[in-house]
């Protein structure tokens, strides 16, 4: 197969500039059974993440009396790629699960949940390059949705070298024919990038290009971080609205109104009585 031209007139195949992300959609709390969940789209990537726990660890011997055990499973659906992927874990997904878990472990406050387990499951429903970073973004939101205490947010993005240019968030064609791919995740705390949580690379980059890739990644994650936060805020606002319209809320509302109606007259009478006594 011939390598197509990936950059034409300073634009990428999908019309993006070098420092531009693909469109992102994030929604928190999409699954009923999971303790926390998130659906995320990044370009053609479609990811769903679920968090179960803190809960009892099975098998028991895996328990840690001093802290929670974190498990992370990255899995691709057979239909997520052009050519059907054999179901189940392959070597690639085992490695991705390992480094992703290691990115989250120092961020989750594990010592608050001794003897328990926190399971993070991410499913790639459709893949289009950058799935490990998209999955981490979804997993972070799902963890927060589950109420798991975290030191901050983990936000990830990939950077690639394509036709000699360092570009943000490569899509499939750029990943396939590009010269380098660098997935990076950061710990972001109070809106500030604190440290690197995940870092891998394959391809060929000079030291200078590597530094440039890091700068570009930092720019990219700040935009994603904003969207992650918004998704969580929306979830809580929605919960508030749901509550306002629910039976339970109506009941409280009715009681309050009764109270008020009763109160108007009674209060006045009582006030008068009080005043009378005081005099």
């Amino acid at each position: 197969m011939e390598k197509p031209k990936l950059i034409v007139d300073g634009r990428r195949l999908d019309g993006r500039g070098f420092e531009e992300l693909r469109p992102i959609k994030i929604e928190a709390g999409v699954l009923k059974r999971a303790d926390g969940s998130c659906y995320l789209e990044m370009g053609k990537n479609k990811i769903i993440a679920a968090v179960y726990g803190p809960r009892e660890v099975h098998p028991r011997h895996l328990q840690d009396p001093s802290k929670a055990v974190i498990r992370y499973r990255y899995n691709m659906a057979p239909f997520s790629v052009e050519e059907r992927k054999k179901p189940g874990p392959d070597r690639r997904s085992v490695e991705i699960s390992k480094v992703s878990r290691e990115a989250l472990e120092p961020v989750i406050m594990k010592e608050l949940f001794p003897r328990s387990g926190i399971d993070v499951f991410v499913e790639v429903l459709q893949a289009d390059a950058g799935t490990r970073t998209a999955c981490l973004n979804a997993a972070s939101v799902a963890l927060i949705d589950a109420g798991v205490a975290m030191r901050g947010m983990v936000t990830a993005v990939a950077v690639a070298k394509v036709d000699g240019e360092i570009v943000l968030d490569p899509m499939k064609e750029e990943d396939n024919y590009g010269e380098a791919d660098v997935p990076i995740a950061f710990l972001i705390r109070n809106g500030k990038i604190e440290s690197i949580a995940l870092l891998q690379m394959d391809g060929r980059l000079t030291l200078e290009e590597m530094r440039r890739a890091m700068e570009l990644a930092k720019k990219g994650v700040m935009q994603i971080y904003k969207l992650q936060r918004e998704a969580i805020m929306r979830k809580y606002m929605r919960e508030g609205e749901d509550y306002e319209g629910s039976e339970e809320a109506m009941e409280v509302e009715r009681e309050r109104e009764c109270e008020e109606a009763k109160g108007e007259g009674e209060k006045e009478r009582e006030n008068r009585k009080e005043e009378g006594r005081n005099e």
């Binding site: 490695e95 699960s97 878990r101 949580a197 394959d202 060929r204 980059l205 000079t206």
Partner: protein, 271 residues
């Protein structure tokens, strides 16, 4: 349990020495252990190497077969890298299918060789779209005294460098040396507080496996990286590691090259 206590004592000891500005085995922070390479140790393999990195020992064997190319690269040979952490190499290794550590080891070594284009895969095409050479790189750990990663990477490139393509055995022409055109070297460092320890030994790993592997090619370009271990890496440390790893790789590359080219397989170089 007693192991845990021992580990804790070791950890305190290692940390106190690091804070005093030294390593437990007296090495400088950026110093590798002694590297010894012997190639051609397995006659049945197309290429092989035994690497000793201090007390860490790894054997890599290269075997080759003819097979069908991948449909998207019909004119290129294939590399398949595998690692086995056999139970003889460490009390913590267990028999059974490869776990995440051996998969990671194999994949990071593979990336270094693949991305540096160390093997000229186009020269391994016999018949486009039909027959190509498949190069199997099998990593066999013998003794894990820390940093199996770099020992394996050195053993892999050394074994490839010494490999002969067995064309006669497969009746597709004359035997020829495997076309190797680059020499990737990985450098793994342990990140402890504000210090970086190159080529950590097992005891040093008691402080935690906060590792960063950076592989570079002969031109000093980065070809593979892997942050491994549950820790957060400060950005400044990353830039420091980049420079350090490329510089160290240059030194190690020269040592390894001199041992596999001169001194007849490096066997009695130093003895």
């Amino acid at each position: 349990m007693s192991d845990d206590i021992l580990m804790d004592i070791k950890k305190d000891y290692v940390l106190s020495r690091i804070r005093a500005g030294e390593r437990i085995d007296g090495r400088r922070f950026d110093e590798f252990r002694e590297v010894k390479v012997q190639t051609g140790i397995i006659e049945k393999a197309e290429g092989s190497a035994l690497v000793r990195l201090g007390n860490t020992q790894v054997v890599v064997g290269v075997k080759m077969q003819i097979g069908e190319p991948f449909p998207d690269t019909p004119e290129k040979g294939i590399i398949i890298t595998n690692a086995e952490l056999v139970p003889l190499a460490s009390p913590t290794f267990e028999p059974g299918p490869p776990d995440e550590n051996s998969i990671e080891l194999a994949r990071v070594v593979d990336r270094g060789i693949r991305e540096s284009e160390a093997i000229d895969l186009e020269k391994l095409c016999i018949e486009e779209g039909e027959k190509v050479w498949i190069v199997f790189i099998d990593i066999h750990a013998l003794d894990d005294d820390g940093n199996l990663m770099d020992a394996s990477a050195i053993a892999a490139i050394s074994a490839l460098k010494s490999a002969i393509v067995p064309a006669e055995r497969f009746e597709v022409g004359e035997d020829f040396p495997l076309p190797v055109q680059d020499f990737p070297i990985s450098v793994t460092s342990l990140v402890v507080d504000d210090k970086v320890l190159v080529d950590p030994c097992r005891d040093e790993m008691s402080v935690g496996s906060n590792l960063m592997t950076i592989t570079s090619d002969e031109m000093g370009r980065i070809v593979a990286m892997q942050k491994s271990g549950s820790y957060l890496l400060p950005e400044e440390k990353f830039y420091e590691l980049l420079e350090l790893s490329v510089a160290k790789a240059g030194e190690i590359r020269e040592i390894v090259k001199s041992q596999i080219q001169g001194g007849q397989d490096g066997e009695d170089e130093e003895s």
